[in-house]
Subunit: 433 residues, 2 copies
């Protein structure tokens, strides 16, 4: 038996606002940040579990405080017992009734629990000597189902239905694992499309994205319609008439605005419109989806939990599910989300970028391919070429595809020198003018 | 001009778990707590604004940290400028893009903003020399509309529609104010119905509630159906065949369970079923509402924001709106909720109890009566007789009615000796066994 001896947190912030990398219609000046947690044990293997919540600056200290408050559930606990039944471990944290009041199952406290769950999965995969995607894909359908909290889901998917989905994918696991290791997983790039970039930079980056082999690019929209028409025109001319261009409004619109604005951009044939309105507005997403056909609605990076994903699927408000590795309650809740997507036949194209989101979420898509949906068709992971150098096992994207990681763990461990260099010491102004 | 010179916070926790006051199917051992904030200025009047977020124990420190992170928006600011345009002040806090990432508009960060907004309203009402309900009811329809953030609402209610609702209620304001001061506002009591109480205590408290003049009682249900049948039988016999008994499941069920369980209790004619499932499950609430007619669905104490309330109304999932004073973004967002309820013709029966929730929320119902819905019909405020002695202006309930407070402010100021006596110093075990 070994015991958890420390749960260390760090408030890490990168000064990305200085370059306007990551600027969009709702987030003009993000400082990409991580509320980072490291769980250490007294085991002789010396392995630790690392994970984080991605934030965009102010409030990262609150996110750290929320992770800190979970220490009481972890310190001194038998780590083998926690890792052995990760379904029960997740429920232990999620169902702490006093902490649950702070959500329930949403926002700062929910993301904190997700970070702890993810750190434990990182440790478990390291102990198993496998990358997380492969470790998850080695589990039996029964164990995978035991990881999921079906509370509030059974009107859309039951444990038996989930089991049937996983069993149907089981025979092809070995073949798909081999294929994934050989060809990787499709990526699309958002690098060209930030609102803060000049037209010249936009055009150059669009051409580079095509040359680099990406199958799709994405542009931010929603601040000004004339600008969007001009920028989409530049991008469309740069990439040619048939190349997929997704657009992303980052929650900027009300329902009727969304319908009018997207229809005004229809001539550019967007591959999808992402976050057209509030991530909480399930009925609004459904109304928008009906109003902009055949353009598809994509959403998910701010969807708070499996219960909202369930309803977006039930209402027909989401044709592309964009899970995020650190928004929900960790790997366990994202397995629920993957199963929901499979049940409703909707492709999962994860949100990534930020700090470490590419590293973290690739494991979920790869697990989905091997053991859940069994398909890469119409699926791809967002890719932004920022801040990968701070990770122990950085994402590798080659010719528009994520190479499957082979190092043990969840790829969520940062380099110690980066952790130390970017630990927040109040260096940026706390309030923008 | 005067300036904000301090934003002080306190982590206040009452050891209510020792008595099982407040125990329900999801919250077996709450320690009623307040993340308390006091905003002071250098004005010669010496007035401060006080408010809080109600929590149930662990994590109250995280809620305090979230309020602390808003200091940068307040310290050194011209307080008259902030108070003059509370719509703009609310938006300043809500639309901080970096903090918004932590919700958006939900959970710990959203409630922290709500506490600051409420503290500023407390200060503004104190400066105006009026109780908050009367101060709000003295504002023009135009100013009230300017307080509301209509983002994500316009498919359900536009500013013009809100203005029409407020203008229609304007002629009767003086008459209703006089009536409110004369007769008070209806209260119902949850005191008899906590799960942790014995059958004898339940029966005695039911009889006392009727004798005390309350027009309705409420019982917690959802832990065990046989227990619920027995307890509802005791209550029904104690209060007689026609007296309204509401029931509250505190989110315990999935959709099909809720329908089956409520139908199994139909013989007791519940006045409403409260929180039958996750507060996030709009479509689930609608399905339950269809499945349990004529029993009505009530919800709201955990509804994160106006966007979810909007959809519950659009979907027909909520026949009684139970706003909470500290769950959403403060007075401003609750005015949006009251306007939505008026638009859809749904009565507002606020959630209260906890610490100070009766004190805080009564002002919103009374404002609603005077200036929005113009009616007390079918409306009442929850009442629990706990912890009022810690407030400077405690709620007064007489013969089943809240007396309209007349002291200036929002009634959210705690007594300094209570603040000092119950400031958390780690006295309870941080994790239950």
């Amino acid at each position: 038996m070994s015991t958890i001896v420390s749960v260390d947190t760090r408030d890490i912030r990168f000064p990305t606002s200085l370059e306007l990398d990551g600027s969009d219609a709702m987030n003009p000046d993000p400082d990409y940040s991580a509320a980072y947690v490291t769980i250490r044990t007294d085991a002789p293997d010396g392995l630790a579990g690392d994970a984080f919540v991605f934030t965009i600056g102010r409030g990262n200290d609150v996110q750290v405080a929320a992770i800190d408050t979970l220490r009481g559930h972890l310190l001194g606990r038998d780590v083998e017992e926690l890792l052995r039944d990760m379904g029960e471990t997740s429920r232990l944290l999620m169902h702490d009734s006093q902490l649950r009041w702070l959500g329930p199952e949403k926002g700062v406290m929910h993301m904190a629990i997700g970070a702890v769950v993810n750190a434990l999965w990182d440790l478990r995969a390291k102990r198993a000597g496998l990358p997380l995607w492969q470790h998850l894909a080695s589990l039996s359908p029964e164990e995978l189902v035991s990881l999921v909290d079906f509370r509030y889901l059974t009107d859309a998917i039951t444990p038996d239905e989930a089991l049937a989905i996983l069993r149907a994918a089981e025979p092809g696991r070995a073949e798909r694992t081999a294929r994934l290791l050989e060809v990787g997983y499709p990526a699309y790039t958002t690098t060209p499309g930030w609102l803060g970039y000049s037209d010249e930079k936009l055009e150059r980056l669009c051409r580079e994205a095509v040359a680099d082999g990406f199958p799709q690019i994405k542009l931010k929209v929603g601040a000004d319609l004339d600008d969007d028409v001009r920028r989409l025109g530049i991008a469309r001319r740069a990439v040619g008439p048939d190349f997929p261009i997704a657009i992303d409004a980052n929650q900027r619109w009300d329902v009727s605005d969304a319908i009018a604005w997207v229809n005004a951009l229809a001539e550019f044939h967007p591959a999808w419109i992402e976050e057209p309105t509030s991530p909480d507005d399930i009925l609004g997403h459904a109304a928008i989806a009906r109003g902009i056909r055949p353009v598809r609605v994509a959403t998910g990076e701010h969807v708070q939990n499996r219960i909202v994903f369930k309803q977006l699927l039930q209402a027909g408000g989401m044709a592309v599910m964009q899970i995020d590795a650190t928004r929900v309650g960790g790997v366990n809740e994202n397995i629920a989300n993957l199963l929901l997507a499979a049940k409703f036949g909707v492709p999962v194209c994860p949100h990534a970028g930020g700090v470490g989101l590419c590293e973290a979420v690739q494991h979920l898509s790869m697990f989905d391919y091997v053991a859940v949906s069994g398909s890469m068709d119409g699926r791809m992971i967002e890719y932004v070429d920022h801040l990968h150098e701070h990770f122990a096992v950085p994402t590798e994207v080659v010719r528009g595809r994520y190479l499957a990681p082979t190092a043990p763990g969840a790829s969520t461990e940062m380099l110690q020198e980066s952790v130390d260099a970017y630990t927040w010491r109040g260096a940026h102004a706390e309030v923008t003018a």
